[in-house]
């Protein structure tokens, strides 16, 4: 019989599981020393795939670090990119073409309107944009949350719903017990990626004073202003991008001091298509 590992009291009449037993993550072994390969052109970048593929096969464990920061990880595999190629790689991997194009369009639009680069994920910058630059009156958000799109699509819901049996309602007699028992699954977690930019924010009462910071989720309630809407959308796209690590974060991930989803879940990356 398994232990009751999933259950702890949280007080009151509601009980929930508590976390959470993390696995221990060991430092990753760095790849062996390889002959340095310089990549300065797109042609060399494409050709480098074959070299990298072989080196990944030799030292597969470290390959997960490519997701933390491909430029820094490639350097461990003996592949050095010049500044142009570094920028190209990071930009290419950060977003697919459609999102990349939208991001560039929003960045240009906001820079033109504001006279400075937009920093929508800087909550102080966003508060200044809303209350000072755009002069919007503060709104009392209280516990309001943005409207999120469902991660489900209709087909998915239909397919998954078919896994469930129909209602039975078998026992017709009068029940003395009035207790209702309900079983369900938790609703999907809202994420910035799914904030609905087309939904209309609710009418909210005015707040007494402006806050000094505004998260993207809070700024969503001011998106009736077109500049704010563009900034929120830009912030959303930024948050949807690959979160490449700075060198310090890269080192922490490598050492196992910090764990992100990729470090936790990805075992290896290979490039079999580059061998032919």
């Amino acid at each position: 019989m398994p232990d009751k590992q999933n259950r702890t009291e949280t007080g009151g009449s509601a009980r929930a599981t508590a976390v959470r037993h993390r696995r221990e993550f060991e430092p990753l072994p760095v790849p062996r020393a390889n002959k340095i390969v310089k990549v300065e052109t797109h042609r060399q970048l494409l050709a480098m795939a074959r070299t990298l593929s072989a080196r990944l096969e030799e030292d597969p464990q470290f390959s997960v670090m490519l997701l933390a920061n491909p430029v820094l990880a490639l350097k461990y595999y003996g592949i050095e990119l010049n500044a142009e190629m570094q920028q190209h790689v990071l930009n290419t991997l950060r977003h697919p073409p459609k999102l990349r194009a939208r991001r560039e369009k929003l960045e240009k639009f906001l820079a033109k309107k504001l006279g400075e680069p937009a920093k929508p994920n800087d909550s102080g910058w966003m508060a200044r944009l809303v209350f000072e630059v755009r002069g919007l009156k503060p709104r009392d958000l209280k516990d309001s949350v943005p409207v999120y799109k469902s991660p489900f699509n209709t087909g998915m819901i239909k397919r998954l719903h078919e896994l469930r049996p129909a209602a039975t309602n078998r026992y017709k007699g009068v029940r003395r017990s009035a207790v209702k028992s309900v079983v369900g699954v938790a609703p999907w977690s809202p994420s910035v990626r799914l904030m609905d930019m087309d939904a209309t924010p609710p009418d909210l009462p005015a707040a007494h004073r402006a806050t000094k910071t505004l998260t993207l989720e809070q700024a969503w309630f001011y998106k009736d202003d077109p500049i704010v809407k563009a900034a929120v959308e830009l912030g959303q796209i930024e948050r949807r991008g690959f979160p490449f690590q700075m060198p310090a974060g890269f080192r922490d991930l490598l050492a196992g001091k910090k764990v992100d989803a990729f470090r936790a879940f990805v075992r290896t990356i290979r490039i079999p298509g580059a061998r032919s």
Binding site: P2, K4, L160, H161, Y171, S181, G184, R240, I269
Partner: protein, 577 residues
């Protein structure tokens, strides 16, 4: 080692619910009438009536324990009133014997209106199956009881004066016969008895006040005492003394002693002794209904078996609600060392003999288990439906964040400790080919734990369990991972919903109607009634993941259903003699 043996589902109930349901069954007058009788019986030739009472109250509680895989041993307080209207001894006319008997009941299934029930069946129980550890209320074999019997028998004799050739012998017993001449001696002595042990046997010593009036061949008249010993025999539910049988031991031969010191007293006594013995024989066999411990236990065992045989009460009465789609027959096993009744449903493999499952109940009152095999099938089906082609050439996954081919994906229920994870988990693993512009597509292999977190909200009126799958080992809110999380978590969540609801459906629980996208519904996790006995309300409180599959522990609220003794008393419908 298996939570579900060769079945898909297993419901386990703990000893406390088993006892609660049993007590409620005992309250049901239709299942277990509390007063049986009067029943005609015969004890040692005495017509008797008995009343059998089944008790279960604070002073005399019934109980049960698990005897083996298929039997529950019941401790039943039984009270039997024996009435012998013609008992020679009035004090023996009513005896109340009380015992807590131990009787085994067989875990069995039977059909009621075409629906299979699981419960306890006493059919075929015999007296030899019933153990009676001790009996109270046994009558005491004392002198007073015999004295009363002798008095009664004396009064029933037609005469107490016996002539013989002009001589007369009178037998006295106090003032019970005032017609005797002469009347009893001064002080009106009564017949007295004492119990004496001689060797291995017990004898009743009886002293009779007498008077002899002898005219032939001499004149002699005197009061005196006749003393006789008669063997006490206990057998066949009676105790008896045959007044006609002189003991073989000469020391216990009948004696006659006169008060007079007349020289003829001795010869007269010797002469009258045969007459006296013949007259004592008129007392016949003094027989009383009697229950020594052995006889009482035998009778109680026999009456208990008679009472129980043919009776049964249910523990699990699932209904399908659809005659065309009946539920499968529940198969029960008792796990005595764990105090568990395991109810298996949906036989998976009929090629092997049914065996008892493991105990997974723990300290809970109820727990339901889903087999690993069924869980694997459900997961595979859901994955195939949501990611067509996965594990068979690859499933194309296209999102705003990028495109990939999901080549393989597996979700494996795993034990605590597996994969370096200390708690039970679903181990997610697979391989995807990620599409990158203008570059060879890399293959990414991934694996990691997913936990099934439970949030439980419980009030006096509700019990809400919400399962939230959670990817392990990293902090939520990393939007880069939302795509993967958004894909896999809802799928696993809905798989869990499908698994739980199918389990409830197939074990005979109840599901309320729901809308197509509702992610929760009202349920009765197990049949909410034990037909005619109890109403159950199960509250699932957790989910435990292991390589055996899933276990859902919970608790039970139990209420009475059906009519009790008190109900019948209130309505005036108690059975009458």
């Amino acid at each position: 080692m298996s939570n579900t043996s060769n079945f898909d589902y297993c419901v386990e109930l703990g000893l406390a619910p088993l006892k609660a349901i049993f007590h409620l069954a005992l309250k049901n007058e239709e299942l277990f009438p509390h007063n049986i009788g009067p029943l005609a019986r015969n004890f040692g030739g005495h017509a008797a009536t008995i009343m059998v009472k089944l008790l279960d109250d604070e002073d005399s509680p019934a109980d049960l324990s698990l005897q083996d895989a298929h039997h529950i041993l019941f401790a039943l307080p039984i009270e039997i009133d024996v009435e012998v209207p013609d008992a020679p001894d009035p004090s023996l006319s009513r005896v109340t014997l009380k015992a807590t008997v131990e009787a085994p009941g067989l875990l069995a299934t039977w059909a009621v209106d075409g629906k299979d029930q699981l419960g306890i069946d006493f059919t075929g129980i015999a007296a030899a199956d019933v153990n009676v550890p001790s009996v109270t209320g046994l009558p005491t074999l004392d002198v007073g009881r015999f004295q009363s019997a002798i008095h009664t028998r004396y009064e029933s004799l037609p005469t107490h004066s016996f002539p013989l050739g002009g001589n007369t012998l009178n037998l006295y017993d106090g003032t019970r016969d005032t017609t005797l001449i002469p009347p009893n001696s001064s002080g009106n002595p009564e017949i007295t008895v004492t119990l004496e042990n001689h060797g291995a046997d017990q004898y009743l010593k009886i002293d009779f006040p007498i008077h002899a009036d002898v005219q032939v061949p001499i004149t002699f008249a005197s009061y005196g005492t006749a003393t006789a010993w008669r063997k006490v025999v206990q057998a066949g539910g009676t105790v008896s003394i045959d007044m006609a049988v002189e003991p073989g031991d000469t020391a216990l031969a009948t004696q006659v002693v006169f008060d007079s010191s007349h020289p003829a007293a001795g010869p007269v006594a010797a002469q009258l002794k045969p007459l006296l013995i013949a007259r004592l024989a008129d007392f016949g066999v003094v027989s009383e209904p009697w229950f020594d411990e052995s006889a009482a236990k035998s009778m109680i065992a026999a009456e208990t078996a008679t009472y129980l045989t043919g009776r049964r009460y249910p523990y699990y009465t699932p209904e399908s609600g659809d005659d065309e789609t009946p539920l499968e027959t529940p198969v029960g096993f008792l796990l005595p060392s764990d105090g568990v009744l395991a109810i298996l449903m949906n036989r998976r493999d009929s090629s092997v003999a049914d065996t008892a499952p493991d105990a997974f109940l723990g300290a809970n009152q109820v727990a339901l288990a889903v087999s690993r095999a069924l869980l694997d099938e459900t997961i595979t089906r859901a994955m195939n439906e949501e990611f067509p082609g996965v594990n068979d050439g690859g499933a194309e996954v296209s999102t705003d964040e990028g495109d990939a081919t999901l080549k393989t994906l597996s979700v494996t229920p795993s034990d605590p400790g597996a994969h370096g994870v200390s708690e039970g988990h679903l181990w997610i693993s697979g391989e995807a080919e990620v599409h990158i512009d203008c570059w060879p597509d890399p293959d990414v292999s991934f694996s990691g734990p997913m936990y099934l977190r439970v949030h439980l909200e419980e009030t006096d009126e509700s019990c809400n369990m919400t399962i939230g799958p959670e990817m392990g080992d990293f902090d939520a809110g990393q939007s880069c991972c939302d795509v993967f999380v958004d894909l896999i978590i809802p799928v696993v969540g809905w798989i869990m919903l499908g698994v739980i609801e199918s389990m409830i459906d197939r074990v005979g629980g109840e599901l309320a109607a729901t809308t197509a996208d509702a992610q929760a519904r009202n349920v009765n996790a197990i049949p909410p009634v034990v037909a005619g006995v109890a109403e159950l309300q199960a509250c699932l409180e957790s989910v435990l993941t292991s390589s055996q599959g899933l276990v859902f522990p919970g608790k039970l609220r139990i209420r009475r259903e059906g009519r009790s003794f008190e109900d019948l008393a209130e309505s005036g419908d108690l059975p009458r003699p």
